[in-house]
Structure formats: structure tokens, C-alpha cells
Point group: C2
Chain length 199, copies 2
DNA sequence: ACACCACGCGAACGATCGTGCTATTCTCGC
DNA sequence: GCGAGAATAGCACGATCGTTCGCGTGGTGT
């Protein structure tokens, strides 16, 4: 890795952490330059524009998410074990030390939901992928006989996702010490319902 | 109402809408002045500082939320009907025309979760109130015999809230046309579980 | 109707934003 | 170890941020 790539990676490290805490609005070239010890223009040269930096931050976040949550889960056995691995991996993701502000995507989602552009488009695409992954995992669990045959797998993905969002909210905004327990309760209930024979 | 109060209210109207779409970061005195036809300094004079404006926006949002969601729900009969009214009122709240960016509080939550200060403190207090209201409503439903006796009412509030957050996410970011149906499904399931006799 | 004061405007402030240019320093292949 | 090209610094730019101040003007209470 050349010198340039090294510093670029170091910048992105700080940028991801900053974006996690303060969002893209709080991610400024000035503060980023201060934190990395670079000059503002020296830092800027690594990215053609602010938007390119933001895109790079998003890409770096996705890369980490895939490596830490997706990939390990796909090493777990198909069906319910994989779904449990996704749940656990995502819980750990929320508390990753390099994401001091919690899940990067939840923060970005609220900032970008009314701001059209390539950044928003990519985030939406990633989110759809992630939700589709959840739904597919549920379908596999049905095929494996872990979940009941008539399970609405898209609804399962929605409910799964809603637990994540609530955890983020209760943990990061309200600092609720019970947030994790509540999330686990909700997940256990969700799984129980998915296993049960249909009514 | 004096002239000053009138313009102040008009400013807050625009400010609430702007904060709903773009968050507090996108809420600038300049754009607000342009939209209201005031000069920047003239507008500024109505609020001692940007933070005071933000606090006023939050207060105005809470006022509307109470008037449109809380108050009507408390006119509904105690127990399950009231809980259903809370759910419906909140669904309507998300799509209020004066909140073009969706629920004001969800947007603010993500912006303030790592930004200490009086603004964050107040938002947290409001959110705790809202959650406590949900839990209390569930306890009443238990007392009325609508919900089973051993229901975990705090967990119920968590699950209820998670549906709201997921709806916001699927509706506003992903523009998912099924968002409302998914939310209703999840709510129906939540109620069913709360009614059922304990396992 | 008059006086007064709230109300709003205009100009300017220092800071910081993202972004160009030019120069200097450093790195790495030969 | 030298020369080419990448990497970084320095400086300046226009724009916009929140904020201050002084000055008019028009709404308001008597």
C-alpha cells in the first residue's frame, strides 16, 4: 500500500467515526484535517469533493458491515442459526468501538431521507440489499423447516429491522440500560412466532 | 395576538417544516428569512439565539403532537381502544402536511443523540414521557381486562415504538409503498400477543 | 391623535464552510 | 542517488454561518 493509500485509509477511519457521531453535516474537512494532522487542502486532495468523501465514507461503512456482520453470518449453518448470527452480529455492530455514534447507516438514513442525490441512492440500495438478505434468510429457514411454511418473510424482515431501529433509539438517545434486553426479548418473540405452526 | 407574536408563529411554522425535512443542521436563519420574507436580523430578533430557535421548534412540535395524537387518544375509552387511537393518531402524525419530512422527533433524535445540551435533554425527557404514556396505556388495558395480566408493559411500549421507527424508515428513506401495511400488520400482531393468555 | 416602543431592516463582524491554485516536500522506481 | 511524479502545505477565494448594533418606521395603548 502506497503512502497515499495509507493516509487515505487513515482519513476514512476518522471520517467514519465522525460521521457515526455527528452525521455528514458534522463531518467537515476542517475538523477532519485537524484530527488527522493534515492540512485542509492536503486532505481535500485525496477526494475530489466533499461528496466524494461522503461516498467513500459510505462505502467504507458498507465494507465493514459486510466483513463484520454479513460474512460471519454466512459461515453459520443455513436457517435459524444464520438468522441468530445476523442478529448477534448486528448487535455487536451497533457497539463497535470505531462507530462511537452507533450504527452508521441509521444516522445517515435520517439525514438523507429528504436529500436526493447519488449518496441517498446508494444508501437506499444498500438498505434494500440488507432487507432482502434478511427476507432471504427467513425463506431459507422456512425451507429448512425451522420456520413455519406460511411465514410472511418480508414482514419478518420488517419486524427484524424494527428491532434494530428501536435498539438504536433506546440505546443511543435514551441511554436506556435495558435496551439490549428489550431487543433480545423482541427478537426471541419474533423467532417464536416464526416457528409456531400457523394459526 | 400582537404583530410580533404573529410573525413569530409564522416563522415557527416554516421552521418546524424545515426541521422536519432537513433536521436542525439544515435549519438556517438565512433560508428561514428568505422563506418568510424577513431579513435575517429581523428574524433573529425574535429568538435570542439559534439554540433558542431550536428549542422553540422542539416546543412547537411537542405542542402539535400533544394536540393531534395525545389529546384525541385520551378521549377514546380506556384500554385497547385508546391504544388503537394512539397508533392511528401517530400514523397520521407521520404524514401531517406540515411535517414534510415525517415525524419531527425521529429526525431530531438521530441528530441529537451525541450532542449533549439542553436541547437533547428536553428531547429525551419528551421521549421518555411518550414511552411512559404507552406503557401506562398498556397497564390500563391490562386493568380493563383487554390485555393479559402478566403482560410486560414496558416491553409493549418498546415494541410499539419500534413499529413507529420502522415505519419512518421504510416510508421516508426507502419510500416503500407497503410501509403502512407492514406497520399495521406488526401492530395487529403485537395486540394479538398482548391479548392472548400467557404461555 | 400623539407619543412611545416594539418591530424589522441594513450593514458589518469574525468564523468556518468547500474549493481552487501554486509551491514545496517527500517517495519510490530506475 | 537521482529524477519524475505523487503527496502535502500554504494561501486565497466567495459563500454562508450565527451574531451584533444602530437606525428608521409603523403598530399600539392612552
Amino acid at each position: 500500500m502506497s503512502k497515499g493509500d495509507e493516509t487515505r485509509a487513515a482519513i476514512l477511519d476518522r471520517a467514519v467515526a465522525e460521521a457515526s457521531r455527528l452525521g455528514l453535516a458534522g463531518l467537515t474537512l476542517g475538523s477532519l484535517a485537524r484530527q488527522t494532522g493534515l492540512s485542509k487542502s492536503g486532505l481535500f486532495a485525496h477526494f475530489g469533493s466533499k461528496e466524494d468523501l461522503e461516498l467513500a465514507v459510505l462505502a467504507a461503512g458498507v465494507e465493514r458491515f459486510v466483513a463484520r456482520v454479513m460474512a460471519p453470518a454466512f459461515k453459520a449453518p443455513r436457517g435459524l442459526p444464520r438468522i441468530e448470527a445476523l442478529f448477534e452480529g448486528w448487535l455487536a455492530w451497533h457497539r463497535a468501538p470505531d462507530l462511537p455514534g452507533g450504527c452508521l447507516f441509521v444516522g445517515l438514513a435520517n439525514e438523507l431521507d429528504d436529500r436526493p442525490g447519488p449518496l441517498r441512492d446508494r444508501l437506499v440500495a444498500y438498505q434494500r440489499d440488507w432487507i432482502e438478505t434478511l427476507a432471504t434468510a427467513a425463506r431459507i429457514a422456512v425451507a429448512e423447516g425451522h420456520f413455519r411454511a406460511d411465514l410472511d418473510c418480508e414482514q419478518f424482515a420488517y419486524d427484524f429491522y424494527s428491532i434494530e431501529l428501536a435498539y438504536h433509539h433506546f440505546h443511543r438517545l435514551l441511554r436506556d440500560p435495558d435496551a439490549e434486553r428489550r431487543a433480545r426479548n423482541a427478537f426471541a418473540e419474533l423467532v417464536t412466532l416464526a416457528r409456531a405452526a400457523s394459526a
